[in-house]
């Protein structure tokens, strides 16, 4: 593994900024990475997910400009999508986005120069490196967007970011920073896709900073190429009365790890986390969520569902921490899995750690199969197994 650590160390040094404060952040993160290395199965959080398939090859950043032919766009966002092709921002697509006064959607690189005061505090303070993957993302800080919505601005149109890759053994390191000032509202959609015949790597992290009474709706559509390795993180800090709705949809990639981390820092905030993962073939998808209630009267609700086919494997690990003093916390967590074939496996682990009184927390996990009696019932009405399965899977995904 050390050869890969050395390889990515060299990659990170290539990515070092000439802006001193940013370079400082990168250097510290690189030291973290060198200290932590890549996660391995001896770490509890990586018990069921091995990075070995990813660490068979090295994936290098390619700074040349390219345009990737995308499988499909998000239909309503045609012409209004910001594109990253093979890890590099396509500047023209950013320039074409119409924005209300005061709203900033900049390249991270430009924002580091022009909006240092707004951005700098959010690149380090809240999220210390949790593991080598996270640290490497910070060490590689270069590509990504800075999204800033001023106080009381309500953005009607979603900000749509598409990431597409079609180069073999190429790596894309992305960091998006989303800041909503008090009373503002926005929707951000992140779409990841790529060529099914090409083995590439994505390491992406989005940090969200919600000020008082702001409201963000975030969608992540992970439909990467079937050979890709996708390591993604979403972290959010919520202030008084703010709200985050997070919807995650995961079908692509051969090795997928998704970490979501929600921090309630002030009272009366709420967070909804919906997730669907549907691996097939030999795909491996690992979703880790962590909700930290550090303040009273907050509400978190998680509903993650898995539909597994082929010989795929999924992991769900949901941790809810209710810190001392976070009274009146309401935290709900649910993970349901449907196994469609005998070769599938799911490891699900809900965790509650409660250090406060007067809280209401629930969690539950289920693993099941299609109901054979329901399939027979539908068959006796002329509906064959394929269609009947489709109905039952849709019903499973749709139910609460």
């Amino acid at each position: 593994m050390s050869e890969f650590v050395a390889f990515y160390e060299a990659q990170a040094k290539d990515a070092f900024s000439d802006i001193p404060w940013l370079l400082d952040i990168q250097q510290k993160a690189l030291n973290d990475f060198l200290r932590l290395g890549f996660p391995n199965k001896h770490q509890e959080d990586w018990k069921y997910t091995s990075l070995a398939p990813f660490l068979k090859n090295s994936f290098a950043v390619d700074k040349s400009k390219s345009i990737v032919k995308e499988r499909s766009n998000i239909p309503f966002a045609a012409g209004k999508t910001i594109h990253f092709c093979n890890g590099q921002l396509v500047e023209e697509t950013l320039a074409a986005i119409p924005l209300p006064n005061g709203v900033l959607v900049n390249s991270l690189r430009k924002a580091c120069v022009q909006h240092k005061d707004k951005l700098q505090p959010f690149l380090t303070s809240f999220f210390p490196a949790r593991d080598g993957v996270h640290a490497l993302n910070t060490a590689m800080l270069d590509q990504g967007l800075f999204i800033y919505v001023p106080a009381d601005v309500l953005l009607d149109e979603p900000i749509v970011i598409s990431h597409a890759q079609d180069k073999s053994h190429q790596a894309s390191f992305i960091r998006h920073v989303v800041i909503l000032e008090p009373g503002s509202r926005a929707t951000v959609i992140e779409d990841y896709q790529g060529d099914d015949l090409v083995e590439y790597h994505t390491n992406t992290m989005t940090t969200i900073h919600l000020s008082a009474s702001s409201h963000l709706t975030h969608y992540k559509i992970q439909r990467e190429g079937k050979l890709s390795h996708h390591l993604g993180q979403l972290s959010a800090v919520l202030a008084t009365g703010s709200q985050l709705d997070s919807h995650s949809f995961s079908i692509g990639g051969q090795l997928v790890r998704s970490d979501t981390s929600i921090h309630f820092q002030e009272p009366n905030a709420s967070c909804l986390m919906n997730g669907i993962y549907a691996p097939t073939g030999k795909q491996h998808m690992d979703h880790h969520t962590e909700v930290i209630h550090n303040a009273p009267d907050c509400h978190s609700e998680q509903d993650y569902k898995g539909v597994l086919n082929g010989q795929s494997r999924a992991v769900f690990n949901g941790r809810v921490i209710v810190a001392k003093g976070a009274y009146h916390t309401r935290a709900e967590q649910q993970n349901k899995n449907l196994l469609l074939s005998t070769g599938t496996e799911v490891d699900t682990k809900p965790q509650l750690e409660i250090f406060a009184d007067d809280v209401s927390c629930t969690h539950g996990a289920t693993v099941g199969q299609l109901d054979e009696e329901a399939l027979f019932y539908l068959a006796t009405r002329g509906i064959g197994r394929a269609d009947a399965s489709r109905y039952l899977v849709q019903a499973f995904v749709g139910e609460n």
């Binding site: 109901d371 019932y377 068959a379 009405r381 002329g382 509906i383 269609d387 109905y391 849709q394």
Partner: protein, 250 residues
Amino acid sequence: MLDINQLKVSISDKSILKGIDLKVGAGEVHVIMGPNGSGKSTLSKVLAGHPAYQVTGGTIEYNGCDLIPLAPEERARAGLFMSFQYPVEIPGVTNINFLKAAVNAVLTGQGKKSLDAIEFLSFIREKCKLLDMDESFLYRSINEGFSGGEKKRNEILQMAALEPKLAILDETDSGLDIDALRVISGGVNAMRSPSRSIILVTHYQRLLNYIEPDFIHVLSDGRIIKSGDKSLALELEDKGYSWLKESEEV
């Protein structure tokens, strides 16, 4: 229509049906009665094609074809219908979507044109009227939270919508109050036609006050031990099944 010959059926190596002979002609209504555990429901499920039951001997001919190799959905498309004793609840799938998929699967299976959404809506509304069913039924999940009577009514609605050639009603009357029984019998009677055959599986004679059968068969321990006309039901009500079993032993 249906010709069952020396049918033997097992479930997980336990023999349930031990040689059934039954002929059902077009337009006839047959009743199968018998004590608990005699194999009545097994016969219904085998005819519908339940995968848990193994046919270990005999033949089932349906309209001149061998029924046994057909999958349940193929049987349904060929015009065979079974009303479940315990209809399955399927949360998240609305009745109307289910009924439309079923009707169109059967129509296309029979080489007919499928119904579009508008055609289907007026078609199914007519059927609801026939069974005195509120249209709100259509927009609920299949059988979810339905009372026993509502589930049975939903079964008959499906039968009315699928317009089968052969309908097997497995204990459709059990758990019904008098009013529901009357409505459901009315629905079944409205479906009677010279080209449609019906097999009623029941415990009780009272259903026969509403639906007049052509033949009655008594099933006991996997065999039909007595067949007769409708007067047999009255005799059974009077003397119980033990009368037949004793006479068999003698």
